[in-house]
Structure formats: C-alpha cells, structure tokens
Symmetry: C2
Subunit: 345 residues, 2 copies
C-alpha cells in the first residue's frame, strides 16, 4: 500500500544518534541508559518526521503482534454477533490491539485454515466463540495456545470460558413472575433445549429451565407445563396457538427467546388475549424487537457486549490463563409485559 514510511533509521539519523539509541529512547525502556538530552532529541525527530513504527518488523522480532484472532462459527445470526464483537473491539482498542474476525461456518476444514492463517500472522491470542451456548472441541492447532472460549465450553481443553449465566437468568425470570404474584398457570415455551435447528449440546435452554424451576419450587409454585418449540417466531406462534386451541388458559408465559415471544404475542392477540392483562410474558435475550413490541417485552438480557469485553480483557490480562468458567450476569430488562396475577377463576 504505497507510501515510503519514515523508519527508525531516519529518525536516528535526524537526531544524530544510532538506531539503537533511537530504539531505546522511543520504547522508553529504562534498563538501558539514555541521557535526557538524547531521548528528547530522538522524540523530537520522531515527531517532526511523523514516525510510526512498523508493526510487522516489530512482530517479527518480538513474536507479538498486538493482534487478536476471533474465530466463530457464524457471526451474524440472531441474538449474538454484533454486540459481542463491539464489546471485544472496544476492549481491544483500549489495549492497542487489533482484531482479526473470522467465520468458519461450522466447517472444520475452514476452521483449521483460518486458525492457521491467524497463527501464521502471529496473533497473540485467539478467542474461540460460538453463537449458541454449547459444547465445542477447538481444533488441534489451538492446543497449547493462548485461547479463550466465548459462549461455549470445551471439557478437557485447557482454557477459560466466558459464558452467560443462564441458570441465574432462569431464576431471574422466575423471580420476576413471582414478584408480580404469579404462582399458577405458568407455562414455559421452547423449554428444555432447542430442537433440530440448533447444534448438539446447546445447554442454554436446559440451564434456564433449571434456574426457573428451582426458584418456583422454592416459592411453592410450579410450572403448569413445558411446550417444546424451536427458538423462532414462527414456531412460537404455532405452539402457543396450539396450547390455546387445546383449551389451556395460561396466566404467564416464559418464552425461551424474544423471537418466541414475538410469535406468542401474535397467537395471544389472535385469541383475543391481551398482554399483560390476561397473560404475562417474560422472555430471554433482549433483542431489538423486545423494545418494539407493544407492550414492550420484559426480558432477561443476553450480555453480549459484556461477553465480548470480558473475553478480551481476560485474554489480554497478563499471566497464564486458568481454565475456569466465568459466568456473566444476565440482567432483567423490566418493561411492560408482566402484569399482576389475578385470582384464578
């Protein structure tokens, strides 16, 4: 890309010192004695010439590139992506690192190729991310490397994980309902796990359900039922419609995602039921639509931004990485879809 950059040799020449001296002066290292006079001459020369070190040359020597690799299966798709990357980008910038973003599409061969590409370019560390919270096994190229798992767990792989605290999220949803007095007529839509559409080992659903049921049990309440459903609007609509058609009259719905909630809203509206007067709805994710719905949806937010931020901060921290699991809290976004419970008729 064009341009004859100013090199350190240019700076040294202008300052009338050796490249060695220029190097030490510019890096600010104190273990080599440089007089104040020489240092300021070098700094002045560098400033006048608009000198910027060549990161490539530096990397070659130091084996560090001030660069991170972000490897994920799919970067767009639903809840994830954008905000995670933003969080990561922000944290990386704060430490003067740049991010290589890659996408494997779930293909192992592609994955290997990309990881090798990152390693060839001397990335300092790799964030291995999944768009659905599930179990993974990172490629062999990554073994022994500085790696952090984002939104996934890899048993037996020696690396820390950062995942959303889904269990606590389930509890949060349960408590939100209990706080409004709901103890009966509670149904979970899209319950234990995401079915065909999502990859194996997805555990977000399971954990949410576990937390939810735990908190209800402690309060002496329980779920009237769990309706399995894929995690999208279409299926949410279909399953809730079916539930209503079967004659059930839920008082509260715990939907596995905002998309399912969206479908649920449509089904309830069609049945002439209003939210939250007739049915309260609490959900998970906090996608954009949560705020657009009428009434706005109360939902437990996936901490996208925070996940990305934390991943980078951990991996850029110094010292060795311990293989622990960091659970990031999922905050409740209280909006208008939970109403007070009415005495059951």
């Amino acid at each position: 890309m064009s341009g004859n950059r100013v090199t350190m040799a240019d700076v040294a020449r202008r300052a009338g010192v050796s490249p060695t001296t220029a190097s030490f002066a510019l890096s600010g290292r104190t273990d080599m004695r440089i007089s104040e006079a020489a240092r300021s001459k070098v700094l002045a020369a560098a400033a006048e010439l608009g000198y910027r070190p060549n990161a490539t040359a530096r990397s070659l020597r130091t084996k560090s590139s001030q660069t991170l690799g972000f490897v994920s299966d799919t970067i767009t798709t639903t809840p994830f992506a954008g905000e995670v990357i933003r969080g990561a980008l922000g944290a990386a910038r704060a430490k003067d690192h740049l991010l290589f973003i890659t996408e494997t599409g779930g293909d192992r061969a592609v994955e290997s190729g990309l990881v090798n590409g990152l390693l060839d370019r001397q990335v300092d560390a790799v964030i291995y991310a999944a768009m659905y919270t599930h179990y993974v096994s990172p490629p062999p190229e990554l073994h022994g490397r500085r790696v952090l798992l984002l939104n996934c767990l890899a048993p037996g792989f020696d690396a820390p994980s950062v995942i959303p605290d889904e269990i606590e999220a389930g509890r949060t949803a349960g408590r939100a309902l209990l706080a409004a007095g709901h103890t009966a007529g509670i149904w979970a839509i899209g319950g234990h796990q995401a079915i065909p559409a999502t990859p194996d080992g997805v555990f977000a659903g399971l954990e949410r359900m576990r937390g939810l049921q735990e908190v209800l049990r402690e309060a002496g309440a329980r779920l009237d039922g769990v309706v399995e459903s894929d995690w999208n609007a279409e299926d949410g609509y279909r399953e809730v419609s079916r539930l209503l058609a079967e004659g059930h009259r839920p008082r509260a719905l715990v939907c596995s995602t905002d998309r399912v909630s969206f479908g649920a809203y449509q089904a309830l509206a069609e049945a002439g039921l209003s939210v939250p007067q007739d049915v309260s709805v609490v959900s998970f994710d906090d996608q954009d639509i949560a705020g657009w719905l009428k009434p706005a949806l109360t939902t437990v937010a996936l901490p996208h931004h925070e996940l990305g931020r934390k991943a980078v901060e951990l991996i850029l921290g110094d010292g060795p990485l311990r293989a622990e699991t960091h659970r990031v809290p999922m905050p409740l976004r209280e909006r208008d879809s939970i109403g007070p419970a009415r005495p059951t008729g």
Copy 2:
C-alpha cells in the same frame, strides 16, 4: 504465542538445499531455475515438517500482508453490519486474506488511531464503511492509499464506492404497488430523509423517494402524501396513528424501513385495519422481522451480503482502482403485505 515453528531454514536443511532454493521451490516461481528433483525434495521436506511460512516475516520483506482493514463507524446497529461483514469475510477467505475489523464510533480521533494501527500492520487495503448510506470524508491517513468506500460516497476522494442502488429500489417498490393495481391512496412514511437521529447527508431516503415518485408519475399515479418520520418502530407507529387520526384512509403505505413498517402494522391493527385487505404495505431493508410479521412483509432488500462481498472482490482485484460508483441491486422480497387495489370508495 508459544510453539517453535518450523522455519524455511529447517526445511532447506532437511532437503539438503539452500534456503534460497527452498524459497523458490516453495513459492513455485519459475523465473529461477530449480530442478524437478530439488523442488520435490523441498516440497517433501516441507510436508514432513508441517512447515508453514511466517506471514509476518514475509510481509516485512514484501510489504504485503494478505490482510485487509475494515473501518466502520458502527458495526452493530440496525440493518447493516453482520451480513456485510460475512460477505466480506467470505470473499476475503476465497483469496486467502484475513480481515481486521474496527469500529470508530464516529469519533475522528479514534478513527485516525485505528487507521494508523491498520497501516502500521501493513494492510493491503482498507474498506471504509458507513452504516447509513451517506457522504463521508475519510481521514487524511487514507489519502493515496488503496481504499474502497462501502455504503458511502466521498466527493473529491479518489476511490471507488459500493452502495445499494436506492433509486432503483424506490422504483421497485413503486412497481410492486402498481402491479397490484394501486394508483391512488398511496402514502410514504418516513419519506425524504431520516431526520434527527441519523447523521448528516444521508441520502438513502431521498433516492428511494425519487425512484418511487418517478415510477408512479410514469404510470399516471402519484403519492397522496409524504409523512416524515424517524426510521424506527416507535415513530412509525406514532406517525401512522396520527395519519389515521386525521381521517386519512390510505390504501397503500410505502415505509422507509421495516422498523417503520412494524410500527405501521401496530397502528393499523389498533385502528382495526388489516394488511393487506384494507391497506397494502411495502417497505425497505428486509430485516429479520419482515419475515416474522403477520402478514409477512413485502420489502426491498438491502443487499448486505452482496455489498460486503463486492467490496472485497473489487479491492482485491488487481490493477488500480477507478473512482467509480458501483450500485448493487436491491431485490424485492415478495411476501404477503401487498394486496390488490380495490376501487376507491
């Protein structure tokens, strides 16, 4: 990041040749004579050792890093982002390039810092992207560099632009309505330009309106009115509600974005009007919700993926870049929100 890599010197030693010979054999260059015997010895040694060239060292010498920089103001936010990046990633991978993704947040100082960071790392080219189609002025660091403008135009800046063909999109929306027989009672919501919330110089709205009006005029039809509205669900709801409250009875709505359409749906439902029986709706963007709405929304799609792909392909093509504007077609996604026109009552 740990690991003692195999170097070319290792390969040469094992093959019993000089590093020079190894280099030529591996790069497959033919302008230097290497016997078939030597070449295969080197290739075999490289394979046995699992040799991978150090991209950093290579970049230092060749000034090219097989790397691109992607600079954008905001990477998340609404329509854009995810798919654009995916498109870019795919095209980059096809040419063995990796992508640095950065986000400036619209801050010039941050922007300069990031661009310099990219340049320091020897990126081969930079894609300067905006999330809203508007006019920009790239930072001075980018002048004279290999740059491509994505989703924006920069008058006076010598670089090609890739933008969605908004004018044609407006025509497409108009034709979709005309095809269903609509020639009267057509209103545009969120018309000429995005007001306060979006940055200056956004021209997507203007161009869409121009194309729309042109096509209506040619067919002897015209807009009953243009309602200005911010490009979000909340404002779409408010403006359409107001329109209806003022006694207007539109037969078709052209909404500036799917979010506005979403709000329009809510307002229409509240007024007891059904889509598309009472009111047809055509929109722009093709966000996820377009497919979730009932009835599903007919909308002119922003070609995100294609924009990203094309940007990378152009910038990775060889030869100098010409400062022309490439307009990417916006395809119509026909769904269920346009119904046949009824005779006006």
